[in-house]
Amino acid sequence: MLTSHKSSIRFAVAAAFAVASTFAMSAQATDITGAGSSFVYPVVSKWSAAYAQKTGNQINYQSIGSGGGIAQIKAGTVDFGASDMPLDEATLDKFGLGQFPDVIGGIVPAFNIDGVAPGKMVLDGTTLADIYLGKITKWNDPAIVKLNPKLKLPAAAITVVHRSDGSGTTFNFSDYLSKISPEWKAKVGEGTAVQWPVGIGGKGNEGVSAYIKQIKNSIGYVEYAYAYQNHIGYAVMKNAAGNVVEPTIANFQAAADTADWKDSKNFNLVMTNAPGAKAWPITATSWVIMYKQPKNVANAKVAFDFFKWAYEHGQDQARSLYYVPLPPSLVQQIETYWKNEYKM
């Protein structure tokens, strides 16, 4: 017994020593971590899997919401953050951060109503704002019926679904509603997280889609890939030009085309409620945020290589998930930005 005790103690000591020495020997962790936007998670995770197979470099991207991405890159706990809300110049300068777009996509109002197929419901910004303000509470409200005279809408209460975490999807959505509805602007405003007048909160685009799928007569807003991949009903929208448009790559592209990237500093440009005739009204860009003087240069280099690879080889994957790849002129502008702004 004495010996068995001794050996178990010896084992514990040896094990503790082994763990401690592993720490000591390699103070540097080996993974490259990005975190943030769930809006881009579907495509970034596809990219990262493909990139890992091609190069062996592992980009660990965690979908924790844009708010989380911004917070974690500021805290320096990840190699890059991803956000669908651009940071302003003051913030970027204060933290020594730079930002560049990685992909463009569309946010759609998504719903779950028996008998109403995806793409069959028409909504406009005012109605959407009133639903999210809690002023429209039933699906057969005159405002909705007026937009959808042919639809058979139930007299059921609307369950509003929003995000529970800080989100760039929320930023673009609330930015759009602020542009359309003065009341929304005054009462709620825009941001990655806002004080919701009504509704339940889902975590990430994932969580919102899951709730919409599960709760009858609900409405929410998600990146289009989430609605499409999960067969969730989505609405078509009346845009700034007064046309009813579908959420398609062509219409996201139409909105993106109105963007004047050349004059934007740090690519700070929000394209909601874009003016084009076919433009999808809630089209959003996602940005990658990194330190201009990265503390871990090796990791940052791999991250840049990853995005370069994605711009060049990830376009088909992006399109297959209904994202709009960045136009070549913008990619060129980004690469110049890298050269000028990032010191490595």
Partner: protein
């Protein structure tokens, strides 16, 4: 590790006992150090959350506690909605779990045949072993749809009763305060029932037998003899369950709806302290983070007080037993 050799070397007895005393001292110090680590862990948890939440706790003070507005746009945070959700879901859980646990304890101590007590008791305690994430999955995928199918019936019946009717009105979402409360009730049931069962067994047999001899029914023995005898410990067990319910995170996050609202209806969504932290901590900076850590401190203090009461109550019975 000092090794004491058993070889018959001639050694001064005095030196040996001195060495023993030294080893004893070292051993004792190591043990004491480890025990103090427990103390440090608890104090550290309290102090670090107090420190992390200082901006909000000391800067906003009462306003933080009393404001129901959780507004990240203006960077203003009030704890009332999460506190409300935490208390309401825990209270629902208690209201449901206490009588059921009592029934189970009664069944297992007085009614069930002896062969049944072991396995059934073990099965009930298995409920405590299921990880909370599993309760969350079951809650979201199975129990929420079930609740949304029976909630219209609830609204139509209970919802019409004056006074308490308001509690049961609302859209049949399936998720909300009531659903979260029920899931919590299932989770704390094994804790409360096992305490009750244990303390019921401490009642001296002669007390019970005397009562039976006077013609009491099983129920009367339990209600008039066992319960008064064990009252403080039973309350302790209930508080132990309450402590569990207050701090539960994962299961609640899935079924509560994560919405900062204070509503009169139990069918409406809400939020709790722990689910707010789980949802928002990774994205929070500045005041937001401070507010979340301050919430954590509040939760810690509240559970500390509840568990304090629980332990003191439980101790009373132990004292009476002469332990």
């Amino acid at each position: 590790m000092p090794v004491i050799s058993a070889e018959p070397i001639a050694r001064d007895n005095e030196q040996r006992s001195r060495e023993d005393a030294r080893h004893d001292r070292i051993f004792r110090r190591v043990l004491k150090f480890c025990a103090l680590l427990v103390l440090a862990a608890l104090l550290g948890a309290a102090l670090s959350t107090l420190w992390g939440g200082r901006e909000v706790l000391f800067g906003d003070g009462l306003r933080f506690l009393l404001s129901d507005s959780w507004n990240p746009v203006d960077d203003k945070y009030g704890a009332l909605a999460p506190i409300f959700g935490t208390l309401v879901t825990s209270l629902i859980a208690l209201v449901l779990a206490v009588p059921v646990s009592f029934g189970i304890a009664l069944f297992l101590t007085e009614i069930a045949p002896a062969w049944m007590r072991g396995p059934v008791g073990a099965a009930i305690e298995l409920l405590a072993g299921i990880p909370s994430i599993i309760y969350g999955m079951w809650g979201l995928f199975v129990f929420v749809p079930f609740m949304s199918s029976i909630e219209p019936a609830l609204s139509n019946t209970l919802g019409n009763i004056p006074l308490i009717g308001k509690l049961f009105q609302g859209p049949p979402l399936g998720l909300g305060l009531l659903t979260a409360g029920i899931v919590l009730a299932v989770m704390i049931l094994p804790f409360i029932s096992s305490v009750m069962r244990e303390v019921f067994q401490t009642v001296p047999t002669r007390l019970k037998e005397s009562s039976y001899a006077l013609g009491s029914t099983t129920w009367e023995v339990l209600w008039d003899i066992v319960l008064p005898y064990t009252r403080s410990a039973v309350i302790g067990g209930i508080f132990l369950g309450l402590g569990r319910a207050l701090g539960e995170t994962m299961a609640v996050t899935f079924v509560l709806g994560n919405s900062y609202n204070i509503t009169s209806s139990l069918l409406m969504p809400g939020t709790t302290i722990s689910s707010s932290i789980a949802n928002e901590f990774n994205e929070a900076v500045g005041m937001h983070r401070s507010a979340l850590i301050a919430l954590g401190f509040l939760l810690f203090v509240v559970t500390f007080v509840v568990l304090l009461i629980a332990r003191l109550m439980l101790r009373q019975l132990a004292k009476r037993e002469g332990k």
